[in-house]
């Protein structure tokens, strides 16, 4: 969807009945549908067969609900009974399913499969084994001795203890793999043999390509030509892994729209693998659930290491999957501060940034109500950041909710601060963080002086920075 809805819901509701009749689809729960479904240009023509769910050919065996998951599972908590009708996917006023009718039944079926997979012990077993043996979980919670000493030295020997959650050590080098693998397994479970995805920086594309190779699924990844130029190494990786990389014009948002278009045109044959916690329900929930393994491990490791919980958890926020992954476990724990760091690019005033929560407004984008960067006419602003993975003009609806409810703090770091942090962490700890994660590390400069001695900070190092060496080298020579 490449438009933003600034109009109010009441205007949309007047068309609600009209759509219901046309669709002939059972809608016994409130659903807001946008008035102008001119979304998929030239595609997604609604035909009778698209609404007939048997046309989706779901070949999975529904698992029987179990009351408890066996010990040692990468247990995924389910908060909804499988028997309930598909939910609206709202987080307060954010989230939802702002999609054309063609996609509704598909999304509903996806949600049902998702819930059943979570309850299926065999799926859990396979996922746990794959996360352990293939992805390399669990990732360590590493005490960054020299980084801690660095900040203490600036403050008369007093300062927090800094721990790094090492998502950079996962297979393919970013947290994206947790989600890509689990969803590829869901696709296989549904009997689908083709996967489509969109990628910005390329990390999600690479993770999806790898997961599809492992599971024997065909993979098509949409990437904008601009991004392909910025991250050519990731394009090469995807090609090597057997994926087909389709270039699109524009930027990530256009690649995203294109992939959704293809999905809508081939419902029942193709699985759309969402890379991050945005999009229509159930995508944000699914991605968050699969990423929440990060937070669960962190809680256990924190208890082992210092017998408590973190005082603060810091993560970079692009669209929000790694942040939600580590935050989710601690949301209901008010003693844990959740701090999201966005990309301030050239500075919030410059207009060239990607700080959605800081500078955005609420609207509908890619099927969900959330904060987004839009101009006066409701057109999406093209974001900028040196961390390409943070260049998303929207943000996860769940994070928008956490912001509005005050549960989460958000701030930002400029390109310059991020590159400095990249170099600092490399020099002090021998860990080269991704430029995206470097934004989280950059915020430590401001955060550490404010914290009491011995406070425990966990920073999510969401990916490794080898891919950014060329970019940083160029940046530094400028």
């Amino acid at each position: 969807m490449n438009y933003a809805c600034k109009t109010h819901h009441s205007a949309m509701k007047s068309h609600f009945t009209h759509f219901r009749t046309i669709a002939g689809h059972r809608n016994h729960y409130p659903q807001v549908v946008c008035a102008n479904p001119v979304v998929f240009e030239g595609n997604g023509r609604a035909t009778r067969s698209k609404f007939d769910s048997s046309a989706l050919r779901l070949n999975y065996k529904p698992g029987s609900p179990t009351t408890e998951l066996p010990k040692g599972r990468v247990a995924i908590l389910v908060d909804d009974d499988a028997a309930k009708p598909p939910s609206t996917g709202k987080f307060g006023r954010f989230g939802g399913k702002f999609v054309p009718e063609t996609l509704i039944s598909c999304l509903e079926e996806l949600e049902v499969v998702f819930r059943q997979a979570l309850r299926d012990p065999q799926f859990q077993e396979e996922l746990t084994t794959a996360l352990k043996d293939y992805v390399g979980r669990e990732t360590p919670l590493y005490y960054a001795e020299r980084l801690t000493a660095h900040y203490k030295a600036q403050n008369m020997g007093r300062g927090p203890d800094i721990y790094i959650k090492r998502e950079d050590l996962t297979h393919c080098g970013a947290h994206k793999m947790n989600n890509a693998l689990a969803q590829a397994m869901i696709a296989k479970r549904m009997g689908l043999t083709a996967v489509v995805a969109a990628t910005g920086a390329g990390q999600h594309g690479v993770a999806t390509a790898a997961a599809c190779a492992k599971l024997g699924l065909s993979c098509t990844v949409f990437m904008s030509t601009a991004d392909m130029e910025k991250q050519p190494s990731n394009v090469d990786l995807m090609n090597l892994l057997g994926a087909k990389v389709e270039p699109t014009a524009g930027s990530f948002k256009d690649a995203s729209s294109e992939s959704i278009r293809v999905w809508a045109g081939q419902l029942g044959e193709v699985y759309y693998l969402a890379g991050t916690a945005v999009g229509p329900h159930p995508c944000p929930t699914m991605v968050r659930e699969f990423q929440s393994v990060i937070g669960r491990e962190t809680r256990r490791q924190a208890a082992e290491k210092w017998g408590g919980t973190p005082d603060a958890v810091v993560a970079c926020v692009g669209s929000g999957s790694n942040a939600l992954g580590i935050f989710h476990e601690f949301v209901s724990d008010p003693t844990v501060r959740l701090i999201g760091v966005e990309a301030a690019g050239f500075g919030l005033d410059s207009g060239k940034h990607a700080a959605t929560l800081a500078a955005g407004e609420v609207g509908v984008y890619h099927g969900a109500m959330s904060y987004l960067l839009q101009d006066e006419e409701g057109h999406i602003v093209r974001p900028h950041s040196v961390g390409v993975g943070l260049e998303y003009p929207g943000v996860a609806p769940e994070l928008s909710f956490l912001k509005e409810s005050g549960r989460m703090e958000f701030c930002s770091a400029t390109d310059k601060e991020a590159v400095e942090a990249y170099r600092r962490v490399a020099r002090l700890e021998g860990i080269i963080p991704a430029l995206e994660a470097s934004h989280a590390f950059a915020y430590l400069e401001k955060l550490c002086p404010t914290l009491p001695d011995g406070a425990k900070i966990v920073v999510s190092c969401s990916g490794r920075g080898d891919k950014d060496a060329a970019m940083v080298s160029t940046y530094m020579s400028r």
């Binding site: 043996d133 390399g136 360590p140 090492r166 050590l169 090469d236 090597l240 020099r427 021998g430 860990i431």
Partner: protein, 487 residues
């Protein structure tokens, strides 16, 4: 010396032959005291001055054992790997200038003192006691233990039409921090250097992987780091050079000779000779003078130890075959070491045949090399008729070394390990194959081992357990591969 025999046949003549026994075996060798029987002889410590039948019979047995080992030496448990001079049979040793002898001896005693130090010990404590310095770092910083991954689609690929075939497992050293097994050794050596009070670390590097690993650990522990790299290699691997500098290391280009790895190694050794008091030299592989081959092997042996435990968990047994690529030989020794004494486990090393063994452009040291001394050790190496080192070639920089670790030469001569080789082309095919089948992009070095599966698997009975060391990830090789594969 009077040794009275009481209950055993211990002729005095034999005891006088004590003079012709080989040099005494020091405590640093891998012979356990139980094998020497001195530990069991409760009444004495020094045979020359003591009276007692126990001594004479152990002396006899020991003498017999020593003479017989030279004829029938098939029990790996009896081999000294290495002996007190750092020799593996006739290989290994310390062929270095006098100035380095003290440093090597100092290094060896430091290593021996920490080897059994519970605070320093590695893999056994890796999981249980995070307090152990090395274990803690290996777990939290490097990311050990690495998984033993069942490669389902690769196994299917090698399944024969009747459904039979081996089971292929990959030991995921590619998941380590910095993406290769190199860091296991770098971490161990830098901790050792700190214990020795050294503030300055030097290393040589070919493609840059070992350089990056060394720069990484020096950054982590705050030590000064100088990396020697051939000028030609620096041009080919400019990104790795940038990475090393980012990590705070100084990269010095070497322009002598062919400006590649072997020249960088020579320069590094030269630096070490000059600055031996303040400097520790982190050698990247199981080559070089004693104690390096032994030390590097010990730091990598966590790979094999984990594999043993994981194999037991997964299928309740041992691997049948271990496969690893061999450049200098560190990743292979790391996987093999724990299983050398298990004669029912086949050990297979795969070298680089480059453009083909007949082309003269390869790095198949154990297949085509001759015995000589390089970089301080006696081992197989690629040399011409004048004894000059031949410039090796392999598409993978890590295997592009004209020598090989002395222990591999020893294992080959003993017949304990088998060594084959694989061309650039076969390696590239394997690189692509494993990427497509498993979504794991292996390093080009590792791809050599993976390529050998093509020849190996058809010969294996059903359900043979093959463990292959996936020694590194291939992100660094993508440009090279794309160029050749035209993907």
């Amino acid at each position: 010396m009077a040794i009275r025999a009481a209950a055993t046949s211990a002729p005095t003549a034999r005891s006088s032959s004590a003079l012709s026994l080989p040099p005494p075996i020091s405590s640093s060798s891998s012979y356990s005291s139980a094998q020497l029987s001195f530990g069991r002889a409760k009444s004495t410590t020094r045979p020359r001055t003591t009276v007692g039948c126990a001594i004479s019979c152990t002396m006899t047995r020991e003498a017999a054992a020593v003479t017989s080992t030279e004829k029938d030496d098939s029990d790996p448990a009896l081999w000294s790997r290495p002996d007190s001079f750092g020799r593996f049979g006739k290989f290994g040793g310390k062929y270095v200038p006098e100035t380095l002898m003290y440093a090597l001896t100092e290094l060896e005693s430091a290593f021996n003192s920490v080897k059994n130090d519970p605070d320093f010990q590695a893999s056994k404590l890796c999981i249980s006691a995070v307090k152990a310095e090395l274990g803690g770092i290996l777990k939290d910083y490097v990311g050990r233990e690495t998984p033993l991954y069942f490669a389902e689609r690769l196994t299917d690929h090698y399944r024969r039409p009747n459904g039979e075939g081996p089971h292929i497992y990959l030991k995921r050293e590619d998941l380590n921090h910095t993406g290769a097994h190199k860091i296991n050794n770098a971490i161990g050596q830098v901790l050792l250097a700190k214990r020795l009070g050294k503030k300055r670390i030097i290393a040589e590097t070919g493609a840059g992987q070992h350089g990056v690993a060394t720069a990484t650990v020096c950054a982590r522990f705050g030590l000064e780091c100088i990396i020697y790299m051939g000028a030609q290699d620096m041009e080919r691997q400019s990104l790795n050079v940038f990475r090393m500098r980012l990590l705070g290391a100084e990269v010095r280009g070497v322009h002598s000779g062919t400006a590649t790895l072997k020249d960088a190694t020579s320069e590094a050794i030269r630096d070490w000779v000059t600055n031996v008091e303040s400097t520790h030299y982190i050698l990247g592989s199981v080559a070089g003078p004693h104690p390096y081959p032994m030390m590097v092997r010990e730091f990598h042996k966590v790979i094999g130890e984990e594999t043993r435990r994981q194999a037991m968990e997964k299928w309740g047994g041992k691997p049948d075959i271990l496969v690893a690529c061999v450049g200098g030989g560190s990743n292979a020794m790391g996987l093999f070491e724990d299983f050398v004494k298990d004669k029912d486990v086949r050990l297979i090393g795969v070298e680089a045949a480059g453009l083909g063994l007949d082309s003269g452009k390869h790095a198949a040291t154990l297949t085509k090399g001759e015995v000589g001394v390089l970089h301080g050790a006696m081992s197989y190496l690629l040399q011409d008729d004048d004894g000059q080192i031949i410039e090796p070639h392999s598409i993978s920089a890590g295997l592009d070394y004209p020598g090989v670790g002395p222990e591999h030469s020893f294992l080959k001569e003993k017949g304990r390990a088998e060594y084959y080789c694989v061309t650039d082309e076969e390696a590239l095919e394997a690189f692509k194959r494993v990427s497509r089948l498993e979504g794991i992009i292996p390093a080009l070095e590792t791809s050599h081992a993976l390529a050998y599966l093509e020849k190996l698997c058809p010969t294996l009975p059903d359900k043979t357990k093959v463990v292959l060391n996936c020694s590194g990830r291939g992100d660094k090789d993508v440009q090279t591969a794309i160029k050749y594969l035209k993907v």
